[in-house]
Symmetry: none
Subunit: 203 residues, 4 copies
Amino acid sequence: MGEERRVGAGDEPLSRTANPTKRADARRNEKALLDAAASVFVTDGVDAPVRRIAAEAGVGMGTIYRHFPTRADLVVAVYRHQVDACAEAGPALLATAASPFVAMTRWVNLFADFLVTKHGLAAAMRDDHDGFTALHALFLDRLVPVLADILAAARDAGEVKADLTAYQLLRAIGDVCAGAERVDPAYDARLTVQLLLDGCRQR
Amino acid sequence: MGEERRVGAGDEPLSRTANPTKRADARRNEKALLDAAASVFVTDGVDAPVRRIAAEAGVGMGTIYRHFPTRADLVVAVYRHQVDACAEAGPALLATAASPFVAMTRWVNLFADFLVTKHGLAAAMRDDHDGFTALHALFLDRLVPVLADILAAARDAGEVKADLTAYQLLRAIGDVCAGAERVDPAYDARLTVQLLLDGCRQR
Amino acid sequence: MGEERRVGAGDEPLSRTANPTKRADARRNEKALLDAAASVFVTDGVDAPVRRIAAEAGVGMGTIYRHFPTRADLVVAVYRHQVDACAEAGPALLATAASPFVAMTRWVNLFADFLVTKHGLAAAMRDDHDGFTALHALFLDRLVPVLADILAAARDAGEVKADLTAYQLLRAIGDVCAGAERVDPAYDARLTVQLLLDGCRQR
Amino acid sequence: MGEERRVGAGDEPLSRTANPTKRADARRNEKALLDAAASVFVTDGVDAPVRRIAAEAGVGMGTIYRHFPTRADLVVAVYRHQVDACAEAGPALLATAASPFVAMTRWVNLFADFLVTKHGLAAAMRDDHDGFTALHALFLDRLVPVLADILAAARDAGEVKADLTAYQLLRAIGDVCAGAERVDPAYDARLTVQLLLDGCRQR
DNA sequence: TATGAATGAGGATTCATTCAT
DNA sequence: AATGAATGAATCCTCATTCAT
């Protein structure tokens, strides 16, 4: 979707040399845009007016369209870092936790924290009808494999039900957190997540 | 603008003679409107354009505004019957089931069935930002007490965790089903509901 | 404009005999309508929604259209009595006042009082673009001759400028009062009327 | 969104070079909008449909909202020049006229000419219920002080009644002219203005 | 005759998207 | 490349007027 190349770290200097000055501006703008969008998504939702995001970033609207031709492109870019961080935490948790189920509990709570604290994320994935594929794909590509590994370990240890798939669980957590964005002191999404985790156990 | 009376056939023959015909059209239209809105809500969401609902019902737009001055009025009217039916099923289940937890399982599945099959309902409650209060109130008024009774019985029987509230559970189920509306063969909302129910058990 | 006949007083009993009962209902409605319209015109202006007038009168909207096919018909009917009363006061004032100019002053103030106290009247005449002719004609037919008589007497007595016409003065007073309907403690329409009267004097 | 600067031709050549073209379109549009609105206000009143003004100006509707977010903004902008010109004429008249009353007569006639020839202005001030404050304030801010000075001079010279305020007179003239917009060969608003001026004299 | 339900044109406003500068 | 002005489709809502009952 028109994102910059997923290059290895080493070739950066060359590409910068090839186009040294212009790229700096463009990068600054892209960064400003991502920050602005992240901020606006939280307060106004992923369907916030383009103009507001542009204003927040201090750039013209055309600049948004240049960097992110579709809204989905912007949405995905905004959340990619957070998704990456979440994905990368999985193996470490699995390696250090007392048991696979403990690792799973921790990772799921980490994921839920992402969704709830950086809220907008879960709702974005759920509501982003047009860019659904892109955002959904991001989640699936990055997170399902991570959770699948943890789940496989837990299943091998006999800690969770055998028929539980990573996608099923990931999706369940996502929906729960997506629905929890309206502030409501009487409702605690994290408690629901605990219930779900308890429900996953093999007895 | 309320519901028409669900009267037995035999009563009020005189008043019908006095004012026999006029209301028939209005009733037909209100019914058509409710059906049309229910249908459009499923495909286009509760924020669907008024014009589309009117067209679907085969009436003018003004007719919608006459019968349902605000969108919330229409949304609530559309879902009231279904909510009522669900509420009324609660006591019967509690009376006949083998145990309170069995009754709870059945009622929660009934509720989830409503949400999933008559979909739009759960999303409506979640998305209806403006009419949120009205729709939310409908759910709370009708369903929370029903589930609270069941839950109290289950708790008294030691079948469920002590700190679980009816609102918490109702909301969890609602969010899960609301997120499950996009068709996805790899995801089964009912399985998530089962996980939740399992997680509610006292062990 | 569909008004009832401009008949002499004597034939009323006959017409009532010809259509005794139905007419009673119709008259009641017409009276209610006139009262309601007068009241609504004051608060909401002559362009008030038909529905509001009907509601105020406690009749259906169709009834308004039956009695007063156009808005102008209703507006004229509402103000006819007041205009008549004003017209009828003219000769008496002229006969009893100390001088024609005194009579003119009194009558003009009477007219201004009508316009200001029963406000809506002046604005109605001014704003009623469509029914302009009808309402204007009402004023011209009834009031211009009355003021013309007074003015002629004053002119004959050498009290007012020779080139002043009844229509010119009537219109001036009307516009002044029409513009004065917005409440404004810093502005006194009656003072303006006095200035105008002073300005009419022959010196 | 303010007025463009009425700059002398020679200044800011550098900045124009730096950003030479872009603003030209916007200015052209703003000018076209003001001209179109002035024209449409005359024929259709200040409540004319936005679409009609846009069409008259040859721009999209959104362009009106960009330049003049509220109708009041547009109305005020349309009439500001004329009001300014009128205000600026006051001191000169007072300085050159044979007497303060002569100056007052001339200024009032100038004001009335504005109102009548550029008609719509008076009716705008009168009818613009929402933007009433803005337009009213424009008149009060600019014109009341000007007339107040003239009036004070005339009062000091013993030429006008002592209790006459600038606002009272301005408003009277305004209402007279506002009411005179319908073409009517039998009515001469300027004659009414003369009557008013005559009525202001101290005798 | 009276009612008031239904219609639908009319007008305001927002905002995604394009494109001249 | 960046800007932000312009466009106009989409949607909401009101209310005059008609007409079935």
